[in-house]
């Protein structure tokens, strides 16, 4: 295997893919836990962390999209045409959601009158003015987008496992950090 192996994703793309996976799972669990907490300093802290992780996902996704343009992914593994279409659609949807969900959370936070300060040092502008009715809508939007992401990620994982264990092709292996292409 060389660093320019054309049948594999680049090391950087692989690293960012798995970083995203860890961040979104962690943030989903953090988000679900924090809303269930009674009001307390811990709850405020968890909300801040949730927003930091979300903004990080947004930035990492921007980086991935840029990297994808610079270093196109390996050509598709041979598979039926419907699967290639489904793959293109679901990957496109994943990128859109990974960008839209943090932004929806950011707007939601603005609409509740709570500023977002990335990592506690970089204040982000308030995207909308404080507005209770808008906040109620944006909260539902944020939750619905996350439910959609959860569903698409489940399909994504199921498809990857099917490729690996049933079709026995290179789809998953080329995204694994230490695997070698054959």
């Amino acid at each position: 295997m060389s660093v320019t192996d054309p049948t594999r994703y680049s090391g950087f793309a692989i690293a960012l893919h798995w970083l995203t996976a860890v961040l979104i799972v962690a943030n989903l669990l953090l988000g679900l836990s924090m809303v269930a907490l009674p009001i307390s300093p811990r709850k405020l802290q968890w909300y801040l962390w949730h927003k930091w992780v979300g903004i990080t996902v947004f930035l990492v996704t921007c980086l991935r999209v840029a990297w994808r343009a610079l270093r196109p992914p390996p050509p598709p593994v041979a598979m039926p045409r419907w699967q290639q279409r489904a793959s293109a659609v679901s990957h496109g949807l994943l990128y859109v959601l990974l960008l839209a969900i943090p932004v929806s959370g950011w707007i939601y936070s603005s609409s509740t009158g709570v500023q977002v300060v990335y990592l506690g040092v970089l204040p982000l502008p308030d995207l909308v003015a404080k507005d209770r009715e808008l906040a109620t809508v944006l909260r539902s939007v944020h939750v619905a987008l996350n439910a959609t992401l959860f569903a698409v990620v489940c399909v994504h994982v199921a498809a990857a496992l099917r490729h690996h264990f049933v079709a026995r092709d290179a789809v998953l292996r080329r995204m694994l950090p230490l695997a070698r292409s054959r």
Binding site: T112, G113, K130
Partner: protein
């Protein structure tokens, strides 16, 4: 006069008083309540959190030519607070924050008004919240809006811990900062 007539008279008197109070609170010395606001920004773990009070009454007499007879009195209904969520609103009405069941109203009463520059004034008075009364100085800038109303705006700092707003685990200023910036914007109809 029979008993029914007396009751009728008392009822009428009560209605007149209630009517007078309603006019005072709605138009209190020309304050246009719908255009005016009392907002604040608190800092929670380094993050600005905005809020406002939905219900308050103001009695403002602001005569730049007669500051000795100018004054500003405010009664702020603390339970009318507008925060990030219904959950945080119900939290701050509780005993460790405003304790609105026991102390429903915050009161500011000016004792003197002085000029501190072109269109700049200082209202000095006392602010009472949650059973504590502290001196307060509110710097005010006066300007005219497009409709010819006088707009008096001022921002001043309330040190929440002086009033025990946020006790126990909430007394730590690194969680919620001691300084709360209160911004008052009063739109006053021109004198007739």
């Amino acid at each position: 006069m029979n008993a029914g007539g007396a009751r009728h008279w008392i009822l009428r008197a009560a209605l007149v008083v209630a009517g007078a109070l309603a006019v005072t609170s709605a138009f209190g010395q020309g304050v246009l309540v719908d255009k005016s606001e009392i907002r604040f920004v608190s800092k929670q773990m380094g993050v600005n959190v905005e809020g406002r009070f939905r219900k308050w009454t103001a009695n403002v007499v602001f005569m730049p030519s007669d500051l000795a007879h100018s004054k500003a009195d405010f009664d702020i209904e603390l339970a009318s607070i507008d925060l990030a969520s219904a959950e945080s609103e119900s939290e701050v009405k509780g005993a460790v924050w405003f304790n609105t069941a026991k102390f429903p109203v915050a009161h500011f009463a000016s004792s003197s008004v002085k000029s501190v520059g072109a269109d700049k004034y200082e209202f000095t008075g006392t602010l009472a919240i949650k059973g504590a009364t502290r001196n307060a100085v509110v710097p005010v800038t006066l300007r005219k809006d497009a409709a010819g109303n006088n707009v008096a705006e001022g921002t001043f700092t309330v040190k929440r811990l002086e009033y025990k707003i946020g006790e126990g685990e909430w007394a730590d200023p690194s969680t919620v900062a001691d300084d709360v910036a209160v911004r008052v914007r009063m739109v006053l109809a021109p004198a007739k």
